[in-house]
């Protein structure tokens, strides 16, 4: 009946899946990670590699006062209180120790400077040394290899198999699967002696499914995710009785470049330099229209309003924070100009209003006045007057699914009819719904994925083995 047997079977090889695998393997003898794509790492490996932690060593070093409570408050504010507070609380609570775990256990290298991302009250974001999620995924893959955790690529979850009590007993998979061809591959059944962990990610690339949840997200809206970010595994979990939570809450990224596909290199430029150290203007008026450091939902709503055409402008001082600058310039995603005039001409922006906007903004900073849009003006923020100037053309792209399936604080998936946990069935990462409410704060996803990945993996491995 079964072709293979492992203690714990994990679906997905991103941050959540690999953290679960590493944690589970410490506690039991056999763990397998199943990945439908031909390369490991899912969307995590192409992400920006930003990790938010409250109470971190760098915060102590920079004398930044932060706490899990403050982080939770930020999450709830951005999430419009749609957040499942107990789950969000765990993410904030365990953020610092989990960050430390990535350093101590995985050997992840971070830059020695914190970033301040929009919607966070204080700087609390660590950047991986290579400004990419691969800076965490690669050490995780190395760890998996050392711990003898096989990562089976091109292996697609086709069905969950339950025992007579309704608990999950194993999975039916398609091996040699060629995404997204459902006719490819060969079927196989893998038994999970202890539990199955769903860490299959979000569905931002699933144009049909996301349009069902939010019809405003039409097919022509671009997406930052890799093409495997589709809903098949979520649907399988729902079929097994999981509770759908806030599936229509799908986040668009306001920082993505119009001049490249996907997440690219421009997104990190905007996030690390353009928004915090520059200004966001509407090309048609030359004026600012929003707090550049607002959370993603506010920004996107403001950008989409009145069909605004947005670019971010930053100067030589601000651009120092952009670790992807060289790549951006090389690929034409960011353009460099000696004067504001040239920048205005190239972007077809009205020069006089643009100059007025910059002057007004500089006056705010120099005179320490409050910004009308509420942008926080920290002391290290400098006026925009150091040439050369840089601009990036922006377009909102579908980025993250806040919605997903419901779990409890032990990462157990809850059954829709009984409200009780489904036996031997765990979830972590973007497939889980409710943690971030209406809008996820930048750099909170990696924290969430690894915190709950480890919880799910640990609890899965602690299930008593089936005979």
């Amino acid at each position: 009946m079964w072709d293979e047997e492992y203690d714990v079977v994990i679906i997905g090889s991103g941050f959540a899946g690999l953290s679960a695998a590493i944690e589970a393997r410490r506690l039991c003898s056999s763990v397998v990670v199943l990945e439908k794509m031909a390369v490991p790492g899912g969307n995590s490996i192409i992400s920006g590699g930003l990790f938010a932690a409250a109470g971190s060593p760098l915060q102590a070093q920079e004398n930044i006062d932060d706490s899990p409570e403050l982080m939770l408050a930020d999450m709830l504010a951005a999430g419009h209180d749609f957040n499942h507070r107990d789950l969000a609380g765990i993410v904030a609570e365990k953020s610092a120790e989990t960050l430390q775990w990535t350093i101590d256990e995985l050997g992840v290298k971070y830059r020695p400077k914190l970033s301040h991302l929009g919607g966070h009250s204080v700087p609390r974001t660590y950047n991986t040394a290579n400004t990419s999620g691969s800076g965490i995924i690669r050490p995780m893959l190395v760890k998996c290899r050392e711990m003898d955790i096989p990562i089976r690529l091109k292996t697609f979850l086709s069905q969950l198999i339950t025992d007579e009590s309704g608990a999950i007993e194993g999975v039916a998979v398609i091996e040699d699967y060629i995404f997204p061809n459902r006719e490819s591959g060969i079927g196989k059944r893998i038994r999970a002696k202890r539990a199955v962990v769903m860490a299959a990610g979000g569905f931002s690339q699933d144009k049909k499914f996301r349009a069902i949840q939010n019809p405003m997200l039409t097919e022509d809206i671009e997406c930052t995710n890799h093409r495997g970010a589709t809903a098949e595994s979520l649907i399988i979990a729902l079929k097994a009785g999981a509770i759908p939570v806030q599936l229509s809450m799908i986040q668009l990224g306001p920082w993505a470049s119009r001049d490249e596909e996907g997440f690219g290199v421009g997104s990190m430029f905007s996030m690390l330099a353009g928004f915090p150290y520059g200004i966001l203007i509407d090309l048609r008026t030359g004026e600012r229209f929003v707090n550049e450091q607002a959370d993603r939902k506010l920004l996107v709503d403001a950008m989409l309003n009145f069909d605004r055409e947005s670019i971010a402008i930053v100067d030589e001082m601000g651009v120092r924070h952009a670790s992807t600058l060289e790549k951006c310039l090389k690929r034409g995603v960011v353009r460099k100009f000696d004067t504001i005039e040239e920048l205005a001409i190239a972007n077809q922006a009205p020069l006089i209003p643009l100059k007025a906007t910059i002057n007004a903004y500089n006056a705010l900073i120099e005179k320490g006045r409050d910004d009308q849009f509420g942008k926080p003006l920290p002391k290290d923020l400098l006026p925009l007057k150091h040439p050369p100037y840089y601009s990036i053309r922006l377009i909102s792209k579908v980025h993250y699914c806040m919605g997903g399936i419901q779990i409890n604080t032990r990462a157990q998936i809850i059954r829709i009819d009984t409200q009780q946990p489904i036996g031997r069935f765990y979830a972590a990462g973007e497939i889980v719904g409710g943690i971030h409410g209406a809008s996820r704060l930048g750099s909170n996803a990696i924290t969430d994925c690894i915190v709950f990945g480890r919880i799910a993996g640990g609890n899965a491995a602690n299930e008593p083995p089936r005979p």
Binding site: V39, H226, P350
Partner: protein
């Protein structure tokens, strides 16, 4: 005086005209078209303004096209700009939309200037004439120079079928293909190369090729990049690194091809893991066979040794026991004594067979040749009837033989069947 004022006023609101124009163009769906920037616009605007000034200043010239060859006035710079090779990506449709929108934006401004209604009408009419003549020239030129060109240029040209085929082949070939630029960065990678290194497109693009190989491999690649002349090809077996840090053997073939004035190196990568594994397996199998041969030789030798030992033992026994007994029988005068020696000899002969798989039975030695023949048949499982047929003897004779055999083997009175007794005996 009015003329100067009119043109100056119009020039002053150039900025606003540009904004309005840009807005209208965008509304019409031309937001990303070539030439839609301020600088280009100003040049064209100036050209129209100069034409307008000229019309007012040189009343002898006329903006009307006349058959008598009197020079007429139009926006010359614009027409020059549109000459072949200079059109900056504009096509006729885009030009007309561009130009007509501009003229109408300028026209909208004229009533705002403090002129009498007559002057206003005059100015509008003059502007329109200039516009018409400019358009006429533009279209004429277009037909003259661009009859071959057709179709519109909007955005990047659509991929031709052959480009699509090429792209599809590139993406799907079974070997990894990477294109590396002068920064040693990967700028293009196919699906297989992603799988070989375990990195998605988004990650592998922009990666330094040297970070995907172990040090010696990276050095070799760098050396190739420096050495290769265009069109040359070199290949080598190097050790590459998978995303999880595991190393694997690979064959890389590096070529150089220059384009856009820069050096590029297409690299073909073949993962040799399975080939190497097969080679290893073959080597192991060969070694195993050789070991087996050695073992067999040793076994053969020891069997030979055993045989020799056995022969020696038998020879020794014959010379030490059997031959002396025979001598004694020969010399013994008494029948009784001879008989006892014969019994001894019999015992010694039987003892020779100790350790054989089937030991000789002393009783068997007493049997006659015919009786042994009968025994063999019984042993083979033949019935008395079968035996008499096989030996061409009568049934009774066979029965007699059986009786004698039982007596000689001391089986009389025992409940042991002759067939069972003979089973393990060596005949």
């Amino acid at each position: 005086m009015e003329v100067i004022r009119l043109v100056n006023q119009l020039r002053k609101c150039e900025d606003d005209v540009f904004q309005v124009w840009l807005c209208r163009m965008r509304k019409a769906g031309y937001s990303d078209s070539p030439g839609m920037n301020r600088r280009e616009f100003c040049k064209r605007f100036d050209s129209v303004m100069s034409a307008l000034e000229e019309v007012y200043r040189s009343p002898q010239k006329t903006p009307f096209a006349r058959p008598d060859g009197v020079p007429h006035i139009f926006a010359k710079e614009i027409i020059e700009e549109l000459s072949p090779g200079k059109n900056g990506g504009l096509d006729l449709e885009l030009f007309l939309v561009y130009f007509k929108t501009m003229i109408s934006c300028i026209e909208d401004r004229i009533p705002g200037i403090n002129l009498t209604s007559e002057q206003t009408t005059d100015a509008v009419l003059k502007l329109r004439k200039i516009a018409d003549l400019t358009e006429m020239h533009a279209i004429a030129d277009w037909k003259r120079y661009r009859t071959v060109e057709s179709g519109t240029i909007k955005g990047p040209p659509a991929q031709t079928t052959s480009e699509k085929i090429l792209g599809a082949i590139f993406m799907s070939v079974g070997d990894g293909i990477l294109l590396v630029d002068e920064d040693y960065e990967i700028v293009k990678a196919n699906q297989r190369s992603c799988e070989i290194y375990g990195l998605p497109q988004q990650n592998i693009i922009g990666t330094d090729i040297r970070s995907l190989a172990e040090d010696t491999g990276a050095e070799l690649l760098t050396q190739y990049f420096e050495e290769l002349i265009e069109g040359q090809r070199k290949s080598a077996e190097i050790t590459c690194l998978y995303v999880d840090g595991k190393s694997f053997p690979a064959t890389v073939t590096v070529t150089r091809s220059d384009f856009d004035g820069k050096r590029h190196w297409p690299i073909i990568v073949r993962d040799d893991t399975s080939r190497k594994a097969l080679e290893m397996q073959l080597r192991q199998e060969k070694q195993q066979t050789e070991e087996m041969n050695m073992t067999l030789k040793t076994v053969m030798k020891s069997i030979e040794q055993d045989r020799k030992d056995f022969e020696n033992r038998v020879a020794a026994k014959i010379s030490t026991s059997l031959l002396p007994s025979l001598k004694k029988i020969e010399k013994a005068p008494e029948a009784n004594v001879r008989k006892s020696y014969l019994a001894l000899l019999e015992e010694q002969l039987v003892s020779l067979t100790t350790g054989f798989e089937k030991e000789l039975d002393a009783g068997l030695l007493k049997l006659t040749r015919t009786e042994i023949e009968v025994c063999k048949l019984i042993q083979a499982g033949c019935s008395s009837k079968d035996i008499c047929e096989a030996m061409s003897l009568s049934f009774d004779t066979i029965q007699t033989h059986r009786k004698n055999i039982r007596r000689k083997l001391a089986l009389n009175g025992k409940k042991l069947n002759l067939h069972a007794f003979l089973m393990n005996r060596n005949l």
